[in-house]
Structure formats: structure tokens, C-alpha cells
């Protein structure tokens, strides 16, 4: 076990070793006390939660210590009362990065004020949003930042037991966390009598088993208790009555990674980044039809245009941007016309989307918005725990309507029925999963209503995605090479050699094999 002096000594001794190694690898720029990654992709970014990712070796605690790691925890244990830590947290106005953006300091205070013989502090590492992987990156590349954030939180609220609920689908993250916890314990930075200050805080790993709803706080706690991950009714809030009925704090990975940095560099510094009501940075998983896909950390309030074009390099293959989907299955689609929107909690909410955990999927002209809404609903129906009726049955009905739309069998009245269902489910579901599940439908209806009309009234899919609505035709420039007829699995293409061929529409299964085989671009999809 080490003392505070020894921690400082390790820092001073190991920093030059780390810097030397990094300079040899040639992937960083060192400016005074700051080490940042080289390259255009990083130029416009501001990295707080990801500041160590790609720089330190996650398997060596000394690397983390050399980057000012565990300094915040040491200083707090030496100089600050729990109440002061909570006041700092409140003043920083760090808002939860996992979804709803609830102020972290206020959450901590709720639990701090509640007296109890036992309190728990959980890190939510059950990142299940399709399209988001920032938590995974932090867990794998900078696990100690999460551990330190949890220890600081544990000290502030008066907890001695932490849990990390991490997805079993992330084996590398699990291994990285296991190693980090063992190393931190060995150094006396976790466990009993941390740094000789008398503060105890232990962390245990619990694996999720593939249920998206377990990202919902109350469901996650049920799961740790060994039950089905079904959400509980709130209130009481989990900060009052949570895991095993004890006051419990649940923070997301990215939120916790921010905590040590804020404590080190101060509240004023943190508030100077981002916007007034959403200070700091946010990590986005920029994916989909974008040139440079990857993680991007930028100050809150950066516009979608800057993220997608300046950092992401724009839309792939020179295509036109159609929409950006943010917030995963709980979020919405933002049309290209709103690309100047600054990305922070309020602005996104105003245009019918959410920040969520930070998934940002770029969609081009070849994406069908009705199909995307259907895709998300399919996800929600799969992942609904079934406890409450609006979510269990309502979402299923919505999916049926959306499927009939993409199949070309929907009736006109179903457009308004879909909207009505969405609004009711939003208002009446028990937990966050159900309450937000209609968002993909509502936002696409708001901005791409004409696509719904095209599917239902004209029975066409303007983006050429929904197979049942497509029609393959052979144009007059057909050279009669028979290549298409040979690959057609239903033999529905007829025509003699060197004559224009014809597709029997009744027998065509729209597989597209003929389209791929045609050497003279004589087959069109319409």
C-alpha cells in the first residue's frame, strides 16, 4: 500500500518515462503539462473524458498516475469534506452523459442527505445503444478514470461499496476493468483504508447478460439482485431507495470519467467549456455514412455541421446528407436542414431528438426514414421487458403498422393511428425505455411526413430501400445478353438473345440479382 507522498513520487518518476515512450511512438504532441494526440482528426476536438485514451497503457497503473491519475482522489481525501465535494460537483453542473442529462451533483446530494447504514455506488457500463461505443472505449483504454470517479463519488455520498455493471458483450472491457481493480487494490487506491486516510471503498464487477432495458437504473438494480431486469416504479428515487433497498447512486461511464478531471482542474475551468446550461464536452460515436467514423469529443454546443463535416469529413461517396440520428432507439432523426443546430441537451430536445448516450448515425439519400423507424421499433419490441402494457403491446402494434407500411399494405388511416399510438405510449409507459420508444417514429413523422405518405398513398419507397415497394424494369438499351435471365432465381425474365428482355412483375421476388448482373445498366429500380 502506498501513501500520498509515494503516489506523488511515482507520478514524478513515471511521467518522463511515459513522455519518452510516447515521443518515440510519434503519435502525440506535448505542450507543457498537456499531452494530446496528433492528427487533423483530433485538431478540432477537446478531450476530457477521452483524454487518456490512446495515450496511456491501460494495463499499467503508473501510466494513469503519471497523467495526474488518483491526484484528485488523494487531494479530496486529504483536504475536503464530503459536503464540499458535492458542492463542487453541483457548481460544475456536470450533467449525466448516459441519457437524460440529470445534474450529477444534485443526484449525489440526494443520496448524501439520506442516512443509512449502507449505501451503494454503481457505474452503469451497460452501454446497449446500437451505434454508441464511447463507454467501451473508456473502459478499455482508461479504466482507472472510472474507478477514481467512483471512489470520489463514494466518498462524497458516504458509500463503501461500488459495483460496475458491465455488458458481457465487451470481454476486453471486462478484462481491462478486472486488471485495473486488482492493480488499484494492490496500490491501496481501492479497498480498505485508502492512502492511509481511513476511507474504505471496494468495487465489484457484475456482468450484464444482454438485456437493453438494464440500462434503465431500476432494472439494472433488479438484475444485480439476481432477478429479471424489470424496472421499478419511481418514486422513490434510487438515490433514496435503490439496490437492496439502500440509497444508491448510478452514474454512467463517461460521467464518471469527467469527475477526476473536474476535481483536478477546478469548477471554473470546467464551466468555461461548453454552454451555460450544458457545460463541458460530450463524446459522440460518429458512425453510419460518414467518411471518418469514430469517437469525437467536442465542447457542448458544437454544431452538427462541425462534427459531421469538419471532423467527420462529410458524407461518404460524395452523397447528400439526408438526416442525422442521435440518441439511439430513444432518440430522433434530425433532417439535414437543421444541421446548424448546436448539440447540447436543450437544443436537441427542442427539435425532437435527444443527446442520449451520444450515438450519432449519419444517413444519406439511400436511407428510408420509414424503414429506420421500423428498425428502431423492432429493437424496442425485442428489448421491452413486458412489465407495462403500453410498451409491451403498444410498441408491438406500432411495429405492425410500420411493417405494413414498408410492405406496401398499409391503409391511409394508419398514418394517424400510428401517431396517436406513439403519443399515448410516450405518456403512459413505466420507464424510460417505453417513454422514449416512440421518438424515432414521432421525429421521422415530423420531418419526413412525405415519405410516410409516399409509402402508404403512392405505395413507393422514394429512397429505394423497401423491397416490396420496388419494381425492377428493363430499359430499351438492353443488349439482350441473357446475363440477367441466367441469375434470376425465379426465372421470371424472358427474351431472346440480342432482344430487349422483360421482367414478369408478378413472379419477381425483388432480389436484385438481375440488377447486379446487368453489364449495360439497362435495369432500373423504381
Amino acid at each position: 500500500m502506498i501513501t500520498m507522498e509515494m503516489l506523488e513520487k511515482i507520478r514524478k518518476e513515471h511521467r518522463p518515462i511515459l513522455e519518452e515512450r510516447l515521443l518515440k511512438e510519434g503519435k502525440v504532441i506535448i505542450k507543457g503539462n498537456e499531452i494530446v494526440l496528433k492528427g487533423d482528426y483530433y485538431k478540432k476536438q477537446y478531450r476530457i473524458a477521452l483524454k487518456n485514451c490512446g495515450i496511456i497503457n491501460p494495463g499499467d497503473i503508473r501510466d494513469y498516475i503519471a497523467m495526474d491519475g488518483y491526484a484528485a482522489l488523494a487531494n479530496i481525501l486529504r483536504d475536503k469534506q464530503p459536503k464540499e465535494v458535492i458542492d463542487d460537483m453541483k457548481a460544475s453542473n456536470l450533467r449525466g452523459r448516459g441519457g437524460a442529462g440529470f445534474p450529477t451533483g444534485r443526484k449525489w446530494e440526494e443520496s448524501f442527505k439520506k442516512s443509512s447504514d449502507k449505501k451503494y455506488f454503481i457505474c452503469n457500463a451497460d452501454e446497449g445503444d446500437p451505434g454508441a461505443f464511447m463507454d467501451r472505449s473508456i473502459l478499455e483504454n482508461d479504466p482507472h478514470a472510472v474507478l477514481e470517479g467512483m471512489a470520489i463519488g463514494g466518498y462524497a455520498v458516504g458509500s463503501d461499496q461500488g459495483f460496475i455493471y458491465v455488458r458481457a458483450e465487451y470481454p476486453t472491457a471486462v478484462a481491462s476493468l478486472e486488471k485495473a481493480i486488482a492493480e488499484a487494490k494492490e496500490y491501496g487506491l481501492l479497498g480498505e483504508n485508502i492512502l492511509g486516510t481511513g476511507f474504505n471503498f471496494d468495487i465489484e464487477l457484475r456482468l450484464g447478460s444482454g438485456a437493453f432495458v438494464c440500462g434503465e437504473g431500476t432494472a439494472l438494480m433488479e438484475s444485480i439482485e439476481g432477478k429479471r431486469g424489470m424496472p421499478r416504479k419511481k418514486p422513490p428515487r434510487t438515490s433514496h431507495v435503490g439496490l437492496w433497498q439502500k440509497p444508491t447512486i448510478l452514474n454512467n461511464v463517461e460521467t464518471l470519467a469527467n469527475v477526476p478531471v473536474i476535481m483536478n482542474r477546478g469548477v471554473e475551468w470546467f464551466r468555461s467549456i461548453g454552454t451555460e446550461r450544458s457545460p463541458g464536452t460530450k463524446v459522440f460515436a460518429l458512425v453510419g455514412k460518414v467518411v471518418n467514423a469514430g469517437l469525437v469529443e467536442v465542447p457542448m454546443g458544437t454544431s452538427l455541421r462541425e462534427i459531421i463535416y469538419d471532423i467527420g469529413g462529410g458524407v461518404q461517396d460524395g452523397k447528400v446528407l439526408k438526416a442525422v440520428q442521435t440518441g439511439g432507439p430513444s432518440g430522433g432523426c434530425i433532417p439535414a436542414s437543421l444541421i446548424e443546430t448546436p448539440v447540447d441537451f436543450e437544443s436537441l430536445d427542442k427539435i425532437g431528438s435527444i443527446m442520449g448516450s451520444g450515438g450519432m448515425v449519419v444517413m444519406d439519400e439511400n436511407t428510408c426514414m420509414v424503414d429506420i423507424a421500423r428498425f428502431f421499433l423492432e429493437f424496442t419490441v425485442d428489448e421491452s421487458c413486458g412489465k407495462c402494457t403500453p410498451c409491451r403491446i403498444g410498441n408491438k402494434r406500432m411495429l405492425e403498422i410500420l411493417t405494413s407500411m414498408t410492405d406496401g399494405t398499409a391503409e391511409e388511416r394508419e398514418i394517424s393511428e400510428l401517431k396517436e399510438l406513439a403519443e399515448i405510449i410516450e405518456d403512459t409507459s413505466l420507464c424510460g425505455l417505453g417513454q422514449t420508444s416512440p421518438n424515432p417514429v414521432l421525429s421521422t413523422m415530423r420531418y419526413f411526413y412525405e415519405e410516410y405518405e409516399a409509402h402508404v398513398l403512392d405505395r413507393i419507397c422514394p429512397s429505394g430501400v423497401c423491397k416490396s415497394l420496388l419494381k425492377y424494369n428493363i430499359l430499351d438499351n438492353c443488349i439482350g445478353c441473357r446475363k440477367c435471365a441466367k441469375v434470376c432465381p425465379t426465372s421470371c425474365i424472358s427474351g431472346k438473345v440480342k432482344e430487349v428482355h422483360v421482367i414478369d412483375q408478378d413472379r419477381c421476388i425483388k432480389c436484385g440479382a438481375c440488377y447486379d448482373a446487368c453489364p449495360s445498366e439497362a435495369i432500373t429500380i423504381g
Binding site: 458481457a168 447478460s209 438485456a211 439482485e225 467514423a293
Partner: protein, 165 residues
């Protein structure tokens, strides 16, 4: 299809699993880690082992089934030698993962969630494995195939000793 659990053949594994149960007996909320242990050791949850958990942890079998059926990682049928997982997260979906899944299904003659009769392959669709920048992604056992193209589907099946139907 019926799969028989051979206690004799699995003797060693059962011993390892008994140890896992013992290690967790005193843990609060032991059921999940124990089920995860069984899934990892046997590749699925044999009915006989669920019975054992029920006795050792003193939890009714019905409750264990209730929990095990809720989570998508638990399976009640053995998985094949090679597990092909097609990621259907948003990024992969937008980049055509559905077509790739259908190709695998067609070529192996089974649907997602099923295992081939010769126990060689299982297909599963997964929700986001967090490799979105490499979409579409398919994993076979521990191997990752990023930015997969439809043409590669056949190659992959052949590589793992499959026959094309």
C-alpha cells in the same frame, strides 16, 4: 431437435461448475454470476445444471427459468462449434447488415438463433458490439470481420469448414 446432456462426458466441467457455485454462495445476488458461469462452461444452460443451481442456492427452479429466459445471452440449446454473429446495430444496419444475415441464413439453411444439424454452425444476430466505425461487422467465435461485403459470406463459411447448401 433434442440434445442430450451426458453427465459422464461432462464430469470435469460439472466439477468446475460446482466450484463456481461454491464461490458465489455467499454473494448477494448470486444467481446471475452462477448462470453466467454455466453458460460459459457448457456453452448453454443444461436442465440438469439448473436443477443443481436450484438445490445449491435454494432458489425455486421456476424462478431460475424466469430469470434465464429474460436475458438474451442465455441459451437452452447447445451452440454450434462456430458461432456466427451478425451485428444489427444501427450503423451496421444502415450499411446493409440485414442482407448479410439473410445470406448466411440462406447458405447454411438455418435461421438466426438456430444451430445446424451437424452442430458446426450457429447464427445469431447481435445488437451492437460497439465496433460501429467498422460497420458492417460480423464475428465468428473470436474473429472479427469488419466492413464485411456480401461476397465474403461464402468465403467465411468455407473457411470454418462449412459446406454450401
Amino acid at each position: 431437435m433434442e440434445f442430450m446432456f451426458d453427465k459422464e462426458k461432462n464430469k470435469e466441467k460439472i466439477e468446475r461448475f460446482r466450484q463456481i457455485i461454491q464461490d458465489h454462495k455467499e454473494t448477494k445476488g448470486a444467481l446471475m454470476p452462477v448462470l453466467q458461469g454455466a453458460q460459459e462452461i457448457f456453452g448453454y444452460l443444461p436442465a440438469e445444471m439448473l436443477q443443481l443451481i436450484s438445490e445449491e442456492l435454494d432458489i425455486p427452479l421456476s424462478e431460475i427459468y424466469g430469470v434465464a429466459t429474460f436475458y438474451s445471452q442465455f441459451s437452452f440449446i447447445p451452440k454450434g462449434e462456430n458461432i456466427i454473429s451478425i451485428c444489427l446495430g444501427t450503423a451496421c444496419y444502415v450499411k446493409g447488415a440485414q442482407d448479410i444475415l439473410e445470406d448466411f441464413e440462406k447458405l447454411l439453411g438455418i435461421k438466426a438463433g438456430q444451430t445446424t444439424g451437424d452442430m458446426k454452425f450457429s447464427i445469431s444476430s447481435t445488437r451492437c458490439i460497439g465496433d460501429c466505425s467498422m460497420a458492417p461487422v460480423v464475428t465468428v467465435n473470436e474473429d472479427i470481420y469488419p466492413r464485411l461485403k456480401k461476397e465474403q459470406v461464402k468465403e467465411i463459411i468455407l473457411k470454418y469448414g462449412g459446406e454450401i447448401k
